[in-house]
C-alpha cells in the first residue's frame, strides 16, 4: 500500500500501474458515539478535525457531511489566499491562516499548489490611494507584508492592464501583498481530509444532520438520517447553512446568506501572473495553473440558498474585467457557478461557543472562508479541545454583537462584503 506521497512513490506506482495507492480516506460506518462531532465536511470542518487530532491528540472525532466532502463553498471559491486586512484582529487571523498555508503542503503531504504570486488591490482615485496607504500601514504595523504601489509598480505586475486614456478605472496604484496568491481549493479539502483520516478521524459523507441532541440544556450530539450520534462537544462549520442549523439548535445568528458567483474562462497560456482586485470595476481575477481565468465580483443581493446567481451580476463582473484588461475580450466564458456565503453585519467571522452549551460555532466568513481555512480549523479545534478561546479567536466571539465591539472589515476587503 503506498500511503506516502512523493516523487519516489509516483515513480514506484508508475511502474506498478498505479495499483498500490491507498485510499485517501475510508468510508466508515458511523459509530453511535464520538468524543467530538463536527458538522460540515468543508475546508473548515475538515481542518478542525485534523487539528483536534494533530494538536490536541483528540482522534475520536467524526466529521459529518450531508453531501460529498469539500462540495460546498470550499469547492466553489475563486481560490484566493491573502491577509490584506485592516484591523489587527483580522490581520492576526488571516495571517495565521496564510502562514499555515505556507507550510501546509508538506505538513499534510498533499500539494495544495500554494502560489504566492501576490495580490494587488487597485486604487483608482486619489481618495482611494489615501485609503490604500492607511491599509498598507495597518498591515505593516500588524506584522504582515504590504507595499503601497504606484502606477509604475502596477504596470510591472499587470502589463496588460488598461493604461490607455479611455480607461474607466486608471490604475494609480494600490495595496500590494506579495505573500498573497492562490491555492488549489479541492486539494486543501482533500489534503486535510486525508491527513485527518490517517490520524483516525471518521469522515461520514452523505450523512445529513437533521437535528441536534439537546439534553439538560446542552448539546449532546446530532441526529442524522441514519440515526443519532452522541458526542461530548459538537462543532458547526456549515457556512451558508449556518442560519438553518442554528434554528434547529434554538438560537438565531446575525447571518444572511447570499449567492456569490464565480466563473472560469477557457484555458489560455499564462498571461496574468498575479491576483488583481478592482473595487471600482467590481471585479477580481487570477489565472489558474490550468490556464483558466478565475473571476469573481459582488454578491447577488437577494438572500438565497440557491447556489446560483443571475445574469446581471455576471454581466457586470465581466464588463468590469474586460474594461480592466481589453485583451481579455478574446476569452470565452466556460463555466459559471455560485456558492452560498454567510454574511455578517461587520463582515467578520463568528468563532466561539454558541448560545447552546456544547455547540461551537465557526461561521460568518462571508466571502472570506477559503483563505481562512487553516486558522478556522486551528481555532475551532482549540475552542472545542480546551473550552477556551485562543487569543486570536476571542475578538470574533458572538458576544461582540452585544458589547458592540464589531470588527468592520467592509472597507478592508473592498469587494463583496
Amino acid at each position: 500500500m503506498t500511503r506516502h506521497y512523493s516523487a519516489l512513490s509516483l515513480l514506484k506506482e508508475g511502474l506498478a500501474g498505479q495499483k498500490g495507492w491507498a485510499k485517501a480516506w475510508e468510508s466508515p460506518e458511523p459509530k453511535p458515539r464520538y468524543d467530538m462531532v463536527i458538522v460540515g465536511g468543508g475546508g473548515h470542518g475538515l481542518a478542525t478535525a485534523y487539528y483536534l487530532a494533530k494538536q490536541h491528540g483528540i482522534t475520536d472525532v467524526a466529521v459529518v457531511e450531508k453531501g460529498w466532502l469539500g462540495g460546498g463553498n470550499t469547492g466553489r471559491n475563486t481560490t484566493v489566499v491573502r491577509s490584506n486586512y485592516f484591523f489587527p484582529e483580522s490581520v492576526r487571523l488571516y495571517d495565521m491562516a496564510l502562514k499555515l498555508y505556507e507550510g501546509l503542503s508538506r505538513e499534510l503531504n498533499y500539494n495544495i499548489m500554494l502560489s504566492q504570486r501576490g495580490m494587488i488591490s487597485l486604487a483608482h482615485t486619489p481618495a482611494e490611494m489615501e485609503m490604500a496607504a492607511r491599509v498598507v500601514n495597518a498591515m505593516q504595523i500588524n506584522g504582515t507584508d504590504a507595499e503601497l504601489f504606484g502606477p509604475e509598480d502596477v504596470k510591472r505586475v499587470l502589463p496588460i492592464y488598461n493604461f490607455g486614456p479611455k480607461a474607466r478605472y486608471p490604475a494609480l496604484g494600490g495595496v500590494w501583498q506579495g505573500r498573497s496568491g492562490t491555492a488549489r481549493h479541492d486539494a486543501v479539502a482533500w489534503g486535510y481530509a486525508r491527513a485527518a483520516a490517517r490520524l483516525g478521524v471518521h469522515i461520514l459523507q452523505q450523512c445529513e444532520v437533521t437535528d441536534f441532541l439537546i439534553e439538560g440544556g446542552r448539546c449532546r450530539g446530532v441526529v442524522t438520517a441514519s440515526g443519532a450520534i452522541r458526542a461530548d462537544k459538537v462543532g458547526l462549520a456549515v457556512a451558508g447553512h449556518s442560519s438553518q442549523m442554528a434554528a434547529k439548535a434554538g438560537f438565531r445568528l446575525p447571518v444572511t446568506s447570499y449567492a456569490l458567483q464565480a466563473c472560469v474562462s477557457e484555458p489560455v497560456k499564462p498571461i496574468l501572473d498575479t491576483v488583481v482586485l478592482s473595487p471600482g470595476a467590481g471585479t477580481y481575477a487570477s489565472q489558474s495553473d490550468k490556464g483558466e481565468m478565475v473571476v469573481g465580483g459582488g454578491l447577488d443581493r437577494i438572500p438565497s440558498y440557491g447556489q446560483r446567481g443571475n445574469l446581471p451580476v455576471l454581466e457586470t463582473v465581466l464588463s468590469g474585467l474586460v474594461e480592466m484588461f481589453p485583451a481579455f475580450r478574446q476569452l470565452n466564458l466556460m463555466r459559471q457557478w455560485a456558492g452560498i456565503v454567510d454574511v455578517v453585519p461587520d463582515s467578520s467571522p463568528i468563532l466561539g461557543e454558541s448560545p447552546l452549551p456544547g455547540l461551537f460555532l465557526n461561521c460568518g466568513w462571508g466571502t472570506g472562508g477559503f483563505k481562512s481555512i487553516p486558522a478556522g480549523g486551528v481555532l475551532l479545534a482549540h475552542l472545542m479541545a480546551t473550552g477556551q478561546h485562543h487569543d486570536i479567536s476571542r475578538p470574533f466571539d458572538l458576544d461582540r454583537f452585544t458589547t458592540g465591539r464589531l470588527i468592520d472589515e467592509a472597507a478592508g476587503s473592498g469587494i463583496a462584503h
Binding site: 486619489p126 502606477p151 479611455k166 486608471p170 494609480l172
Partner: protein
C-alpha cells in the same frame, strides 16, 4: 491622469438630436413636473388631471401623470413655486422641473431602442412607470409621436451616449 475632462465626453449642446433609421431622440426644453405623494386621486381631481399611467401608458403630450408607486406619482405639465411647495392639504409636492430631463424618442424604431435599454416585457409593462433604462432609474410613457423618457438631468449626457453606442442613432445638429 487625474484630469478626467477628456475622458468624459462633454454633454451635447441643448437642442442636439440623435438620428437614425426610424429613430429621433431629442432632449425637450424644460418640462414642468411635480413629484406628488399622498392621495393621488384627490390631487388629480383637484387639478383635472387624468389618472396616472404606468409604464408605456398612453398620454397626451402636455398634461399627464406617471404612476411611480402606490401613493406617488410624477405630475407633468404642472408646476409650483419652490417656496409654495411642500405639504398642501394632505398631499406632498416637490418641483422636479430641474431634476428630470425629458427625452423624446420618436420614429418607427422607437421600440427597437426600448428592447435594448430594458428587460421589461413591453406586452406586460406593469403599473409603475418607473424602470431601469440603460441601467438607470427613469420613467417612461407613450405620447402620440413616440416615447417620453423622464430621467435625472445629470445623466442626460450618459443616456444620449448610450443610445449612440447602440448604433441605432448618431449625433446630428
Amino acid at each position: 491622469m487625474r484630469d478626467r475632462a477628456a475622458f468624459w465626453p462633454p454633454a451635447p449642446a441643448p437642442g442636439a438630436a440623435l438620428r437614425g433609421d426610424g429613430l429621433i431622440v431629442r432632449v425637450l426644453p424644460a418640462v414642468p413636473q411635480l413629484m406628488v405623494s399622498g392621495d393621488l386621486d384627490a390631487f388629480c381631481a383637484a387639478q383635472t388631471l387624468s389618472a396616472p399611467v404606468g409604464l408605456l401608458g398612453q398620454v397626451d403630450d402636455t398634461r399627464y401623470a406617471l404612476r411611480l408607486a402606490r401613493n406617488r406619482m410624477l405630475a407633468v405639465g404642472l408646476t409650483a413655486d419652490h417656496a409654495a411647495a411642500g405639504w398642501r392639504d394632505g398631499i406632498a409636492i416637490t418641483p422636479m422641473t430641474g431634476a428630470l430631463a425629458v427625452l423624446h424618442i420618436g420614429g418607427a424604431n422607437a421600440m427597437e431602442l426600448f428592447v435594448r435599454a430594458t428587460a421589461i416585457d413591453p406586452r406586460a409593462p406593469g403599473p409603475s412607470a418607473a424602470l431601469l433604462f440603460a441601467g438607470q432609474i427613469a420613467a417612461l410613457c407613450r405620447d402620440p409621436q413616440g416615447l417620453r423618457l423622464h430621467i435625472d438631468r445629470g445623466l442626460t449626457a450618459f443616456v444620449l451616449d448610450w443610445i449612440a453606442a447602440t448604433g441605432l442613432a448618431a449625433y446630428s445638429e
